[in-house]
Symmetry: D3
Subunit: 325 residues, 6 copies
Amino acid sequence: MILRIDRWGTELPPPTDPDPAGAAAVQELMGGRFGEMSTLMNYTFQSFNFRGRQGARPFYDLIANIAAEEYGHIELVAATINTMLTGASPIDDGRAPDAALADVKGIGNPHHFLAGGQGALPQDSRGNPWTGDYVFSSGDLVEDLTHNFFLETGARNNKLKVYEMVDHPAARALTGYLLVRGGVHQVAYARALENLTGADLTKMFPTPRIPTEKIPECQPHIERGDHLRLYRFSPDDYREIVAVFNGPHPETGEDLEVVDEAPEGALPNDLPPQPAVFAPDYAPEEIVQIAQRLRKQAGLPDKPTAKVANDDQGMVDEVKDKLTS
Amino acid sequence: MILRIDRWGTELPPPTDPDPAGAAAVQELMGGRFGEMSTLMNYTFQSFNFRGRQGARPFYDLIANIAAEEYGHIELVAATINTMLTGASPIDDGRAPDAALADVKGIGNPHHFLAGGQGALPQDSRGNPWTGDYVFSSGDLVEDLTHNFFLETGARNNKLKVYEMVDHPAARALTGYLLVRGGVHQVAYARALENLTGADLTKMFPTPRIPTEKIPECQPHIERGDHLRLYRFSPDDYREIVAVFNGPHPETGEDLEVVDEAPEGALPNDLPPQPAVFAPDYAPEEIVQIAQRLRKQAGLPDKPTAKVANDDQGMVDEVKDKLTS
Amino acid sequence: MILRIDRWGTELPPPTDPDPAGAAAVQELMGGRFGEMSTLMNYTFQSFNFRGRQGARPFYDLIANIAAEEYGHIELVAATINTMLTGASPIDDGRAPDAALADVKGIGNPHHFLAGGQGALPQDSRGNPWTGDYVFSSGDLVEDLTHNFFLETGARNNKLKVYEMVDHPAARALTGYLLVRGGVHQVAYARALENLTGADLTKMFPTPRIPTEKIPECQPHIERGDHLRLYRFSPDDYREIVAVFNGPHPETGEDLEVVDEAPEGALPNDLPPQPAVFAPDYAPEEIVQIAQRLRKQAGLPDKPTAKVANDDQGMVDEVKDKLTS
Amino acid sequence: MILRIDRWGTELPPPTDPDPAGAAAVQELMGGRFGEMSTLMNYTFQSFNFRGRQGARPFYDLIANIAAEEYGHIELVAATINTMLTGASPIDDGRAPDAALADVKGIGNPHHFLAGGQGALPQDSRGNPWTGDYVFSSGDLVEDLTHNFFLETGARNNKLKVYEMVDHPAARALTGYLLVRGGVHQVAYARALENLTGADLTKMFPTPRIPTEKIPECQPHIERGDHLRLYRFSPDDYREIVAVFNGPHPETGEDLEVVDEAPEGALPNDLPPQPAVFAPDYAPEEIVQIAQRLRKQAGLPDKPTAKVANDDQGMVDEVKDKLTS
Amino acid sequence: MILRIDRWGTELPPPTDPDPAGAAAVQELMGGRFGEMSTLMNYTFQSFNFRGRQGARPFYDLIANIAAEEYGHIELVAATINTMLTGASPIDDGRAPDAALADVKGIGNPHHFLAGGQGALPQDSRGNPWTGDYVFSSGDLVEDLTHNFFLETGARNNKLKVYEMVDHPAARALTGYLLVRGGVHQVAYARALENLTGADLTKMFPTPRIPTEKIPECQPHIERGDHLRLYRFSPDDYREIVAVFNGPHPETGEDLEVVDEAPEGALPNDLPPQPAVFAPDYAPEEIVQIAQRLRKQAGLPDKPTAKVANDDQGMVDEVKDKLTS
Amino acid sequence: MILRIDRWGTELPPPTDPDPAGAAAVQELMGGRFGEMSTLMNYTFQSFNFRGRQGARPFYDLIANIAAEEYGHIELVAATINTMLTGASPIDDGRAPDAALADVKGIGNPHHFLAGGQGALPQDSRGNPWTGDYVFSSGDLVEDLTHNFFLETGARNNKLKVYEMVDHPAARALTGYLLVRGGVHQVAYARALENLTGADLTKMFPTPRIPTEKIPECQPHIERGDHLRLYRFSPDDYREIVAVFNGPHPETGEDLEVVDEAPEGALPNDLPPQPAVFAPDYAPEEIVQIAQRLRKQAGLPDKPTAKVANDDQGMVDEVKDKLTS
């Protein structure tokens, strides 16, 4: 089972200029063979299928716990795509439902607009869906770990290239963060393999052979030490990861560290409606009114019980103004 | 972000007779269009993509919170499949790697044995992978809720039929549980639609038109009141579901109820190694020894820090005996 | 546009012993690369996309008109599969929703039972869905006709093999009919190519090199002359097929013939409910009562306005007896 | 069986400026999950698989009859795409087979040009093929109707967004028409559900919450009353739809109406050859000559026996002039 | 470019008892994610896409040369499947085209009979097609080699399991051979990685942790030294593999060796016709006569110019007798 | 088995201006239904599965031998795509890993950059992967040959259209060559069918109805006589193709000819590194140094043992200069 926390793993900038072509590229990090859907589901299924887990507890805990972090990664990729798509259709009521999407004809992933509501999808950069055949769960621990090391390697490659292709601030914040966290997972699986077999994989780092340290957007996370830390994403379980995730970082030599709780993360942005695609409605203010009435009936306070990051920020407010004026 | 809890949503029986053909059928509840991968990922993406969530908070909270419960459902489906596959290959060392899988040639899903380690896969009953194209996330709240109501309806159909096809005790325990919990979600989305549009969907229940009450394996859960309860799967968030999930149950007229914490669940079974498929190894005892050494080095206690349900149960011990003798 | 006629292209026997494994094989003729979905959709799209059709009217009319006949073929394949699946689950109320599908676990296409209601699906014999990528519509008339000749050749191969694999009377009635009608289409496209290019394809018949005359179930259709006839499936259009479909039959030398109307066909069987899979309901008699009330309100006569073939036939009545007792 | 009528459900404008990027978007209405291939094939299979149809005749007739109308819809979507692609390659002989397609490199769906002859394909806006897995045919009448209501809801969403994205006159004529006709089907399935279960779905209309009346291109059809009418697409069958399709329209309150025959429709446009893609040939005039000779041999009149809309219209004639000069 | 040699990489036994269910399982080694289509195409594309190959020649030569050997592996997998399917349909003329395939209804991969002529297909054990998305060709040498090492690891897992599931003599001969040769490739990629990065992967062998030496069917190949040898599959090229493939074998410590020519291999078996599936014809003797006449006209000798292994062996002759009697 | 020769079937120009959108279109000739992966794999599987090959040796030899040539064709398509992608990312070290791929955002196939290293992939022009379901191998010789004739017809259509869409010199060199060689294969299969059945297909040539002679880039190959020649791609085998491939060319009347050895071909270009996508590395010069050391240790000469075409050509050298300075 899981508990869900309505916070993001890291801060993302609020929407600025939309970038639908960039958002289509970022989809590779969601639904590509090496995207976060793949890391999430590979580790999830491997943990579900782990046989003899009591005897091999440190390895089970490692895989199960990293799976938990990956859920937060698909959340961030989605948030990035949604941020980049915000504003790609006009919010001027007068225009919808006329030619409100004319500007994005032939731009980016058409499903972002025709199928979805300017939102993220479990697809890759080609617009092809993520598939369960991307999951490798052989049950053989050495093989599963070998796969996971390779998967993180491919994921790192894809993140670097999306970084190079898309310079939208949200995409850069995302890839800067994911490169650091994915790097930790790459190290974790290598170390698990080393501990299990005796092989020394240290010299295979970094792959691709660009030190994470060279990417400016990685710096804040490295400075905080997040390139060395595995967080324990559970109230009480997965306590034996310390038995596997330890020793020096293969690139920097610093000590790896297990943090015994989840990171604090950041408040999510509440992205504004996009009425041209009916998200969340053609007339979003009506939903607000209904929700307010239901909240009242339920005895909830006047203001939403949840906090978001952007109560008073740039474009978002501007959008809200239009929608509520 | 999520926190993971190493417990199951409900108790499952330990392995008894293997049922690989039944396990192949149960896969429909994992990776079919209406399987738990679909409920998990539909609600997950809809919550990620929810625009204007502050204004529509009760609806956002409902979808986001049900998504969290669904993770526990894919876990249970996987556990059921793994239980049913346990023992399908011999653990007698003398036989592997000879004709250890001869008995399952042509039986069930070949990937359970050839690709996986007698473990669950994100595939349906045909052996076809789950695909991201099963996700509907239009951003339009009325539509997404309509979809979700339909999705739960199809899911209920599939669960009932798997119930009829597979009488293995693990499959029955699974479907008995899922029918009750999925029924709650079906009600939740109908009620959300009612609260949003004013339409009255009460008379569409039950679909298929078999009252859950008629299924014996549903009884323990109904008696506990679990057909009426939505649990809040979060330490602190998603508090506004009460504004939507309320009123009488459409079939029984009893009051719906929000429980302000996750259910306690049950300890998982630690399923025994299946050395013929190298899960977790051809010689599992070697991994145990390595793990034990690593645990010692890390200062962990002699016994695993985690509890499982089956420290002293039937076949499982028998398997362990063979493996450790 | 089309008008639909509630009759079958040929008579099919009523349900006898169920044959779910055979039904799974017959699916190849529905959703396989060379199945009737493919013939229907290839000719449909080619006719939609036909450019300069006034100038090439006889060829356009030929393709458009054969497309129309193919709709009747997917209907017959579906009816055959449905017939073969009838009775595969018990209709004894006492059993459903218990282990009603236990007998078909591991037998045939699991989607016939888990996803569908013992009904036909747009899938092939592997359970893989028909895909739009099976459609070839190049717009180049010589190529499209070459494709169609090849498609009918492959279809004939598949029909012969399904004939050999499945000896259920419904499957035999189906393949006997389709071999004759598909044979006519194979001739039609060959003749169109001959008329267009001057090449002589006569000696390529038959392929596979088994004369249709050797298949007993083809005889009634051959005796009626249906191996020579192209029917015009339209009230008023597609009159120029006579300009292409003419000359001697390549195998028998008899004259090809255009019939200026659709064939009379046969009354469909009304297949009985299968309550174990909720088709059309868990308690079918309730739907009958509702329908009867609605019919009355609408001023319709007491008896259904439509005729079916099986008002008083064997197993079907028996099923009905059980359902109405 | 079907009879085919060589007329379109509504009039479409003749080709003007080509719009290949728009044509790629319109493909969503053909081969998308909610496209017309899906409505056609869902209702077709549901009607094929309908068990106990005599007892539930009004519901069977409704589904079977709407299936028939949908064939006319895939025809119109195809015609629209073909219209929009006309002129996208030059017809100037001097250029082909040189760089005749250079202008569409990277524009729209490459299969429109490389695989097809500037023609429609059973693909969606991503260029992914329609798949049989989009068909839901559970056999359970309540579920199938719930699905169909949801399917029409998603289809309406997609049509509105294509409307907003593509302002080519053919696309607008298409979506204006389909929104009205699809709206009728959405109502029909809701009403069928209401009549079957007693639930009242009236307040779920419209979804998305834009009244069809606000779309200018819908007006001619609404003024003619086509938002209230279900046509009977059959010479003699499906007479019991009146028992289900009745009562007030959920949005306007006007009475729903069954028309006892198919609509008259409109003459199709004969779209001009596109020799650069060899449709119907590199030298189309040769096919005309061959066809003319064959027609003569068959005793057909000098002029084609079929009428088309565009015997003397703008660009089409211009194209013909070039081809025949 | 390639030159093709009409010999097999190793000897396979002639057909004995057919094993269609086993043949379906062996398909995993053909078209599965880790099958020989994948090894062939991964290395082929990596060699095609290798940039700066002059500077990195030893690595290019290694990948390009192993690609060449893999073609011989898909050939052997196909030959094995064909051998196992031989005799699965009767060759008794009296039976075809009657119920000749009744015995294989529901057994194995239906496409082996309905689509193919009892022949191998590019599908996996589920009957799902091999897909180009199984190819990883990042261009980054470290990553491509990491992938290849992982791919060979997964391939070894699959071969071992097929070995355990299928004890047909042809399947055993195949897997015995492929385990040895795949083992060499696994070593080759590990050594290339070691030479490139300095990491030591020796201790990761063997994975799965069963020494190849324990498999009886591997012995003849090990005794011949084939677990140590990389053959150069080219008349003149790929001479620099010696710079990478050298040093001790990670399991045995013996010296790795490059053999400067292709292995001699073995004569292929000429598998007998299966007239029930029209392979190569319903009346195979007619093709023989035509071929003989054509050969004569071309001045070829009376006997075929090519040699096969089975001119006078068991069942094959028996089949021939029947066909020519 | 095969031997590989490190030469190309024909000469290709060195990289000039990159054309990523064109490269995406050329992918149709690689991984499309009618691309070279399809011709290669269709003929390969047909040859593997050929039953009774001694008796039908000339036909077996023909198919097996053409399969061998097709490997050279996928190599050329890959080389063309790689050539066209060269230079699409900057090689200026200062820029990577910053916005090095910004210029190709939204251009061409995103997998060329995000998944691959500016290299060819087994995908079509939509970015969809080649699939094993494109292989037709019925075992029935007449059908397989009919298919192959149709396949070459569709392939010719696609080549002509890619020719028209992409005027990059590499694409033109490729299509000019493939049109001539594919034309020979189209003739070969037609002639085989004629020899086998007696039908005369001469008049079906050319299809599409543009004589290859009209394409300027075909001229050098036609002048050399390559439109008439089938090369024998084997040291010793497939000698009986002469019994089938003979007689006059259907378009020109010239005599067809079998050449008893493979063509000489041309030296490949060594395409320069693209460090922005890490192909073959972020710092390619490091790999060169490592390789040089390994070569020395192995006793290889100082200069690479293999020759390439571009030791001193334009842009390639320029790239090398930058990389080695």
